[in-house]
Amino acid sequence: MSQTRRPAPLLPPEAGRDLPLLAVCAILVFLACLAVIGAAGTWRASDAWTGQLASEITLQIIPGADGDGEAAAQEAGQLASGLPGVISVEIRSRAASEALLRPWLGRASLPDDFPLPRLVTLNVDPDDPPLAAAIETLFDDAAYRVIVDDNQLWAAALARASITVRWFAIGLALLVCGAAAAVIAFAARASLSMRRDVADALHLVGAPDRFITGLFQERFFMLGLKAGIAGALLALLAAFTLAELGGTAGAIFFLPSLLPGWGAILILPAAAFLSGLVAALSARLAITTALAARWA
């Protein structure tokens, strides 16, 4: 007999029977991870948009019938730069205005005499921006018309939409976790029924419930861990693929990018651990309840 004998696992290996369960759990983890990645993308995009909107004010300069757009833009920029709260001024060229219209009008050049509004961007102090009314007053006597785009209105709506999407994604992830827990609990009960001989034998040689529960808990923790790794890897792969090959990154500018940053790699250990934890806890609960019901 070997002197290095190790005790055999008390629960028999059930790799073949565990495989479908592993696949279901991995798919659930995959969906939960995608929801989290989507929420994180929305979060990042929303932060970027709101930050940009809060620190910029755009002026549309509409020259008079015979006015010089370029001169009007230069003058407006100079006047605006003297306002308190304005950090710097950026005068956009006619070509920049045409580029903004290109998605709607195509690549054809506009006629030179087309009264295209010119844009002037004011980079402002986000904590103390100038009021829109104060800017408009500045141009009351100007020979051209000025429209002030108050981005704060956009920012508030955007923040509200972003919060809604985040909570929706978190709710979705929690729902998927709940589904995974229910599946594991069902599987744990089935596993106990299948290995009733083991549970009976252990009880009769004096094993307390927590000993038997521990065996099943350990098994399902490992299953959850494997499913978590597989599901998270697939989700990261899917997110990268989706973002790089015709996904949302840059293709449609107002949708959040699914392209996860390097920080997203943390989702792998987090998903594996959480998946193992959920599996172990739901198996523990199911087995404890089942044992209490079956043995007086």
């Binding site: 002197q3 005790p7 055999a8 028999p12 009976d200 009769l204 040689v205 004096g206 419930d209 043995w295």
Partner: protein, 238 residues
């Protein structure tokens, strides 16, 4: 029914190992399979339990090793009323009882060694603590060469001996055996009985359910006889 007298105690200060007072038992809503059972097993005693098939022997044993609860009456183990025990107290009590099941109940995925080690493992012992004891015990019951075999590859007699080894390995205070020699040849049956007798000599209370009249007579110990779920006679074998 014969109201049996308890065996004299070896330790006068301790209660009997097992005491039944007017115990009745039924499965679900079925008829009583045991009725008005009263007896005591003194600590350190050796007794046989016999009776025809269906008399209730196995049910009586199941009550002793806490696999069932009585429908009525009182059962005491080591002086404790089992009906008053909390669920968490049962494992500790069960560890003081070794059981040889009629159907062996070996775990088919564990080797003979691991099956026999089960009570010690559950009690928290390490392999290094029990390895030598188990090898010695398995040699004694004639399974020294089958130590790594899985139960499905063993003959009925070998499985029975493995089940006996598992029941006695932790030197329980009570040993209950349901037909422990039913699948072995007479020579091995005598050898196993010597093992039970040796355990009894060391203080274990032994109760063996058996049909084997020759075996019972060979031991010259008290016999409890069940018929129709009632304890009918209690005799000292001649």
């Amino acid at each position: 029914m014969d109201q049996t007298q308890p065996e004299p105690h070896r330790d006068p200060d301790a209660g009997p190992a097992v005491r039944f007072d007017n115990v009745g038992m039924r499965y679900g809503r079925g008829p009583e399979v045991l009725s008005d059972i009263s007896f005591e097993l003194a600590r350190g005693s050796f007794q046989f339990l016999t009776g025809p098939s269906g008399a209730g022997k196995t049910s009586l044993l199941r009550l002793i090793y806490l696999a069932e609860r009585p429908s009525r009456g009182l059962i005491s183990l080591f002086g404790s009323d089992t009906s008053a025990l909390a669920r968490d107290d049962l494992p500790v009590l069960r560890r003081r009882i070794g059981v040889v099941f009629q159907d062996f109940r070996l775990l088919t995925h564990l080797s003979v060694f691991d099956n026999v080690a089960l009570p010690l493992r559950v009690a928290g012992q390490r392999v290094s603590q029990y390895r030598e004891d188990i090898v010695e015990l398995l040699n004694w019951v004639g399974l020294g060469e089958r130590i790594d075999a899985l139960p499905p590859t063993l003959s009925g007699g070998e499985q029975q001996r493995a089940a006996i080894a598992r029941a006695v390995v932790s030197r329980p205070e009570i040993l209950i055996a349901d037909e422990p020699t039913g699948n072995v040849d007479p020579e091995m049956a005598r050898r196993l009985l010597r093992l039970f007798a040796e355990l009894n000599r060391l203080g274990t209370t032994v109760l063996i359910a058996s049909h084997d009249i020759a075996l019972i007579r060979s031991m010259k110990v008290p016999v409890l006889e069940l018929a129709g779920g009632r304890l009918t006679t209690r005799t000292r074998a001649a």
